[in-house]
Subunit: 153 residues, 2 copies
């Protein structure tokens, strides 16, 4: 039986955020934070717009979720993000003691998994690969367009 509350459902919502980043000419990464089957925070990468390296989707989603809950800990929450978090974001997720992380596409270069799961809080659960192809496709389309523009300039 189909349930709307599976990982695919929430990753689709994160993908919508990534699409919004894409449309604003940002590297297309989106995130949502979920508590008890409800989305309590949505964010997308805005590093170019804000001229701020800390404006990753995950960081802004953590800030929004903490603001919503009035707590700096997100122990019962799940983060869905379309790209493997970087070290900065993994470090933030560790401090927040997030309950679970689900990411779509891997990131061999900047992803935290180069350093292993131990950079996260020991109680954080981890899953990945959900909607990986859709996320990778959007990222590839973005970078391909960027390279084409660079060649034209």
């Amino acid at each position: 039986m189909f349930t709307v509350f599976d990982d695919n459902h929430f990753m689709r919502e994160a993908m919508k955020q990534a699409q919004m980043a894409f449309e604003e000419d940002e590297i297309p990464v989106g995130a949502v934070i979920v508590l008890d089957h409800h989305i309590i925070a949505r964010a997308y990468n805005r590093t170019e717009q804000l001229k701020d390296v800390t404006a990753h989707a995950e960081i802004m989603a953590i800030t929004a979720a903490s603001d919503y809950l009035g707590s700096k800990y997100l122990k019962d929450c799940t983060l869905f993000v379309t790209l493997e978090p970087c070290l900065m974001c993994a470090g933030a997720l560790k401090w927040a003691q997030i309950g679970r992380i689900v990411y779509a596409a891997g990131d061999d270069k900047q992803g935290f998994m180069r350093y292993g799961k131990e950079v996260l809080h020991p109680s954080t659960q981890l899953a990945y690969g959900v909607m990986q192809q859709e996320s990778s496709r959007l990222l590839r389309t973005f970078f391909k367009a960027k390279r084409t523009i660079d060649k034209l300039l």
Copy 2:
């Protein structure tokens, strides 16, 4: 000859920020970002006040400096911080390609050096130990007071 623009001078400014954190019952960590011998950003840890794990002194100083410069890169800047940055902050400093980091006290538990200097950008210079004793003393005083309060409660 004494010059006001040495590392001690700017670390003293970072210590003033740490002291402000202390007075607001936050873990006392302060930071300043310097460009051409001028302080362009000052910040102190506000994670408790803001209920936000991302509100470390370094993260807020990066955001403030980027806002001031209108650039997400801080290649010609130096960050002075009273405690060794954590992985989250080191990751942010990597993205910002900060020119130089000077920290006071080391942090064996949460400091990024557990993972080595390679988590930073290859062009980032690193120095530490400046005013280490002053910073450690303030941190010890903070945690000692916290433990005393905990015992009383």
